[in-house]
């Protein structure tokens, strides 16, 4: 009986600790994803600012050069835009955010921001593009800064909460 209880307790504690670790690592990879996204948007801004490159072309060149989690996202947008199927740029962008970013650690809020950013792309003149891109980049930077400030404390909190919760459940069950 004691053996069973011990095995049970170990299972409960490891799984709840695992949940804690999962949350803390998700938070870290969200920061990584946001940094990656910022890098790509800066590339996009450069292409538009210096070469006046149209969006599909700029997006295609990012998809070709980049090899991370966002490759498929940019590739999807390029492919879809090339079809000229009657959808507007913002519709294609939104569809790509909803379909192609499931394997990243971005939160729903990040995705909503990204969709909103897409709504203003391609619209009006170059100055407006620069403003939109700059605004979005500073938005991501703020988010990264906020997260980085608390990442140590929060990941420690998630880790210890996970273990503590496991111990607590074990005690209650025993």
């Amino acid at each position: 009986m004691i053996v069973m209880k011990t095995i049970g307790s170990i299972l409960v504690i490891t799984s709840s600790a695992g949940i804690g670790f999962f949350f803390s690592s998700e938070m870290k990879s969200r920061i990584e994803d946001l940094k990656e996204l910022r890098k790509l948007i800066v590339l996009l801004r450069g292409d538009i600012r210096y070469a006046n490159t149209p969006l599909p072309e700029a997006i295609h060149s990012i998809a070709r050069r980049h090899d991370g989690a966002f490759k498929q996202f940019f590739h999807f947008i390029y492919e879809k835009l090339s079809e000229l199927s009657g959808e507007t740029f913002s519709q294609v962008w939104k569809e790509a955010v909803e379909k192609e970013l499931c394997n990243t650690s971005l939160l729903k809020k990040d995705k909503l921001d990204l969709i909103q950013f897409g709504e203003n792309l391609g619209y009006l003149d170059k100055e407006m593009q620069m403003n939109t891109l700059d605004l979005y980049i500073s938005q991501i930077e703020d988010e990264i800064e906020d997260l980085s400030k608390n990442v140590k404390e929060k990941s420690y909190l998630f880790n210890s909460l996970g273990i503590m919760a496991g111990i607590f459940i074990t005690i209650v069950m025993i």
Binding site: P54, P56, D125
Partner: protein, 330 residues
């Protein structure tokens, strides 16, 4: 992808299907006009037709398909490749050149910034003007602009109203002079293509054949471009389209002074018409051009009407009385 599909790509899905089903030869299609809440119109073989929803050409506007706001918006999105900002300069001038060399004229609400045009919004009128290469169309003109004695060409001005094929003629002249012909060996030609109409460069590659000895300065203002070409590419002939400003005139003086030969085009219907224009009259008065080619579309597009020499004597169609006068003089 052929030229027809390439062109149709710029239209909205619905218009693309309708225009694609039209039973016409795209080689003779001149214009496609889209106006908000107005019938879809095409100019084919110099005649105007309305297009119905089931792709038939009719003369009655009531039966035609009415273009709505969404079609215009979608078409504009495809023309600009989803990126209006990339065509800021072109929009300011009122037209965009697309792959294939076709010129898209646009009109809408103009946004002003002090005294200059900043851009355009609510674009509601689109005119797609199709560019055609007619190889060999310069054949009848070529012998008249060549100075066999010196093995060079005359400074030539092509005068024609819009839609009469002056750019098409210029393009073929450039091609034949650059490649060489039975009359003259090939010469190096510099083209200043301010509106990307002559070479129709798309991402740097000319879409039209301009010959093997041709250098193209794409999207460059004419006056500046002529100077750059002379300094950088040492051309024997310089070709430009639609001259008219004071700046152009100064650059032309420079070109002629450098020993280059010049071929230019201008909007107009006759030499008298050019003489009545403020800047251009100067050109005729100075006698800078040695050949004036006048086109019209009375009989067909690009019909060669008349050719005059620098003293205003008609040399094509050649008049018998002129010949007699010349004989007497000799």
């Amino acid at each position: 992808m052929n030229a027809k599909e390439e062109l149709l790509k710029i239209f909205s899905l619905k218009l693309r299907t309708i225009l694609g089903r039209l039973n016409i030869s795209f080689d003779y299609l001149q214009e496609i006009r889209l106006r908000m809440n107005a019938p879809l119109l095409i100019v084919y073989e110099n005649k105007e037709f309305f297009v119905t929803e089931d792709s038939k050409l009719v003369m009655d506007p009531a039966r035609a398909l009415v273009v709505n706001k969404n079609e215009i918006r979608e078409t504009m999105e495809y023309i600009s490749n989803y990126s209006l900002y990339a065509f800021e300069e072109e929009i300011r001038q009122g037209f965009i050149t697309i792959n294939g060399g076709h010129r898209i004229g646009i009109a809408g609400k103009v946004i002003m910034d002090n005294d200059s045009i900043k851009g355009m919004k609510h674009i509601s009128f689109i005119n797609v003007r199709l560019a055609h290469q007619v190889q060999g169309c310069a054949d009848p003109v070529l012998p008249y602009i060549i100075n066999k004695k010196y093995g060079e060409i005359y400074h030539t001005l092509i005068i024609s109203p819009p839609r009469c094929g002056k750019t098409t003629l210029l393009r073929d002249l450039i091609r034949q002079l650059s490649n060489g012909s039975v009359y003259l060996k090939g010469m190096s030609v510099g083209v200043v293509d301010e509106r990307s109409e002559i070479g129709a460069c798309y991402m740097g590659t000319p879409q039209n054949e301009l010959g093997i000895r041709t250098d193209i300065l794409d999207c460059c203002p004419k006056a500046k471009g002529m100077m750059i070409l002379i300094r950088s590419m040492s051309p024997q002939i310089i070709a430009v389209d639609e001259i008219g400003s004071q700046e152009d005139l100064e650059a032309i003086d420079y070109v002629i002074g450098c020993g280059c030969k010049l071929i230019a085009t201008v909007h107009g219907s006759s030499i008298e018409d050019i003489k009545s224009k403020p800047v251009l009259c100067e050109l005729v008065r100075k006698g800078l051009f040695e050949r004036y080619i006048i086109l019209s579309n009375i009989k067909s597009i690009g019909h060669l009407d008349e050719i005059y020499d620098s003293r205003g004597r008609r040399i094509y169609p050649f008049l018998e009385e002129n010949k007699e006068k010349e004989d007497k003089l000799l």
